[in-house]
Amino acid sequence: MSKVEARTPPVIHRGTTVDGITAQISDMVLKRPIHRSYVVAMGLVMMLTMALLYSVVWLFYEGVGVWGVQIPVAWGFAIVNFVWWIGIGHAGTFISAMLLLMRQDWRTSINRFAEAMTLFAVACAGMFPLLHLGRPWVFYWLFPYPNTMKLWPQFRSPLVWDVFAVSTYFIISLIFWYVGTIPDWATLRDRADNKAKWFVCGVLALGWRGASRHWKRYQTAYLLLGGLAAPLVISVHSVVGMDFSAAIVPGWHTTIFPPYFVAGAIFSGFAMVLTLAIPLRAIYGLHDVVTIRHIDNCGKLMLITGLIVAYGYAAEMFMGWYGGSTFDWFMDWNRASGPYLWSWWTIIFCNVVAPQALWFRQVRQNVPTMFFMSIIVQIGMWTERFVIVITSLHRDFMPSAWGMYEPTVFDWSTLLGTFGFFLLCFFLFVRLVPMISMSEVRELIHQTDQGRHEPADFSPKYAK
């Protein structure tokens, strides 16, 4: 074994077979009995989801005043949570689309649940702008449709761009995810042990039978979807960045926002991939397909995107000083030493200082440390959005208009409720959908194993 090979753990453990992986992944959906711990976990996340429903109903009944939003801080937790959740989703698309286009074979065993993570995170994110509307029941005014008022949305506003960006993102992510699952539904259909499972999986498989022409068109379509999703994911968070930078508030009005938002999104998204993958791999015994190599690579990507984020902070500070605007320079000073200094120093620690540990292989290949690191990064990235939204607004131009923002219990219960909703969706996904793409893992095994297979499988002695 060469030195490089010894350092780089394999994508898939040697000895993983096609039959073994097919049985393992499909039995998780078809056979595995429901364990008590699963029921307990479901109960917990359902309670949190109930908290979300309760908060939302109370919000609709009482109005946005139940939140801590006030003048001058009219964009509170709702926008912080929106930006954070949608950023979480971005790593899923990055893994599926960008790494597909770059032919990074290690993406194969984590892309399915990373895409599921994207869908659920975007669903959580999409809720917040709607909840934040003063009159949420007329949310459909955001869409262009022929109406008796003869009015149209304001297409020059980044907020309307956001409606298009986020809804397109959700639809394309859903298509990408479903197209990826079609061959696996066929496997489940063919392994189903009763009529009901056979029927449901059969309907979802759409009659897939693995014909070579079908595979060819399928792969072309999948690759094209990847090519479409890659620029889409960049556009979505860029538009989110423009929601801020189109305003003239100091701390928002800066051209670095779109790229810096995209990097921050992928940074927090990879952290979420690790937060989900590490327990999943332990609970479901997926060590053969989700290997140290995956964790190591996620760590490297967190490091690089973290450094871009750090550059963003540095550029903001530098421009505040170099630009010569009193207000911008005051904003920088106020962030680092004003009433919200805790939040600014939290992001410096979580997003700039702590990720430097990822330079070391010993850290990247240590599973518990990486789990801990992923939590730190997520706290850091949530706080970053808090800093951007709240510290920019609470002290803008005139000291007479300054104010403080204090989140209420409903701000917190809505945030925690979306955790519950996200995990509820994810737990259902783990039980109901093959969480690793079987057809792609098979292809990977065949590519990496060529020559190692005994040709006995195809010897004519079995012929009738």
Binding site: R156, F176, V179, D190, A221, L224, Y462, A463
Partner: protein
């Protein structure tokens, strides 16, 4: 793979290979080159993009011209993001629909589903099917030919 090449070389044109995962070059070996999917996706993207831009142009120039921040009615730079999103949406939807329609899916029933062990086609076995509609098809000779490829088994699938 080898077998598929021989099938094609033997002159069979209504033949198809079935595999549990994508096999690079298998469809080419059977004489299938152009998928038609990229063209459909391209058209979807163009229609989506033009449609998106047209919508905004119509809304702001024809239907309800409205001065916002002194920008001209047809303020194209501000229309780019939505045009881009609509392009991606149109292309993405057509990628899904084009792939399914060209493949003849959804296809709830196919005679092959009744073939013995065909459920392994989605798991760990490889199949080649030569259809009766093939001009070279002759039950005995085709069977002998397939046997010469040293398969696990050769079966007739009733239509």
């Amino acid at each position: 793979m080898e077998a598929a090449k021989k099938v094609h070389e033997a002159g069979y044109r209504r033949a198809e290979g079935y595999s549990p995962h994508a096999v690079t070059g298998l469809s080419e070996a059977l004489g299938f080159e152009k998928t038609g999917v990229p063209l459909i996706v391209f058209i979807g993207g163009i229609v989506g993009g033009l449609g998106g831009y047209f919508m905004m142009w119509y809304a702001n120039v024809i239907s309800y011209p409205w001065n916002i921040g002194g920008k001209p009615p047809n303020s194209w730079p501000a229309f780019i993001p939505i045009t881009f999103e609509m392009t991606v949406l149109g292309a993405g939807l057509m990628a899904l629909l084009g792939m399914l329609v060209l493949n003849g899916l959804p296809c709830p029933y196919h005679p092959l589903f009744r073939a013995p062990t065909f459920e392994q086609a989605s798991q760990n076995q490889y199949f080649i099917c030569i259809e009766v509609a093939d001009p070279l098809f002759d039950l005995d000779r085709t069977r002998d030919f397939l046997m010469s490829l040293s398969p696990l088994a050769v079966v007739e699938v009733p239509w």
